[in-house]
């Protein structure tokens, strides 16, 4: 029960962060990905500061947490054990980045933006879920 409550609270804080930072808006994200706009002063570096702010807070907590034998709420530390750089990793990253650049949504903001109740967001999320299932059930990942 405690773990479910922690999940709800962490999700809520995460969603609030996406909202406050503006990353819930695809136009804000595309404004960052549009590096060519540096040449005319229209580039929006905000996303870089979101990453910086995120790493600044997450890194010390995660560095402290990752060596613990078990998490505070019990259970086990579910840390990734795969350390190999594979073609799947890079190809997956490239495909994800392409979709991200086409619309401006990555998974977190797309889910959070459902709060706006817009049909375009819903369609993106459904397509994203289908993409995930296709990859899973084709046993590629």
């Amino acid at each position: 029960m405690m773990r479910i409550l922690v999940s709800l609270i962490c999700g809520t804080i995460f969603g609030a962060g996406l909202y406050i930072s503006g990353m819930i808006d695809p136009q804000k994200v595309l404004g960052f990905l549009d590096i060519w706009a540096i040449t005319n002063g229209g580039w929006d570096p905000s996303l870089a500061l979101v990453m910086a702010g995120g790493l600044l807070v997450a890194m010390p907590i995660i560095q402290f947490a990752k060596n613990r034998r078990e998490p505070v709420c019990g259970g086990e530390m579910a840390l990734p054990t795969n350390h190999k750089i594979t073609r799947k990793l890079i190809l997956g990253g490239l495909m994800f980045g392409t979709g991200w650049g086409l619309v401006g949504y990555c998974p977190g903001p797309a889910i959070s933006a459902l709060a706006f109740g817009q049909i375009d967001t819903v369609i993106f999320v459904v397509a994203m879920l289908v993409g995930m299932m296709v990859c899973k059930f084709s046993r590629l990942a």
Binding site: S7, L18, Y19
Partner: protein, 144 residues
């Protein structure tokens, strides 16, 4: 740089980092959104883990809802892409994050915080593809 919002970006980023750190410290799990969603219909998504995942996802939607209704912070979420592009984009994001085992949160925030080389390579891959895609759509073919 008229759209640059450094203060809200840092505060929002800090909250994202806080949630990611807390999730690992308290629950022992990586706050990777694509992984949390993917695990809902995965072969190994079992038992109470399903409810933890659902709770996180409900929180992701509840966070903005709470701020929308209780504060004067006004943010929108504007999708300008035409429908076929939205669908293709969604499919690519879903397929790609599953194949590459993570997205901006799992690789970008959590992975880099763990100093994972795998996550660094993934982050550079999706960033590069994002830059090139926008360069192509906005400047080479003049918008979608």
């Amino acid at each position: 740089m008229e759209n640059f919002t450094p203060v809200s970006a840092l505060i929002g980023g800090g909250l994202i980092g806080l949630a990611s750190g807390m999730y690992l410290l308290l629950n022992g799990r990586i706050a990777g959104i694509s992984g949390i969603i993917g695990g809902l219909f995965g072969r190994n998504g079992t038992g109470s883990a399903i409810f933890e995942r659902l709770a996180f996802i409900i929180g992701l939607i509840a966070g903005p809802l709470v701020l929308m209704t209780t504060t004067s912070i006004s943010v929108s979420s504007v999708v300008t892409s035409p429908m076929p592009v939205i669908v293709i984009g969604g499919l690519l994001v879903g397929f790609g994050t599953t194949l590459g085992s993570g997205c901006t949160s799992g690789h970008g925030i959590c992975g880099l915080s763990r100093l994972s080389m795998r996550s660094l390579v993934a982050t550079l891959s999706f960033m590069a593809a994002g830059f090139i895609t926008v360069l192509f759509t906005r400047h080479l073919i003049g918008g979608l």
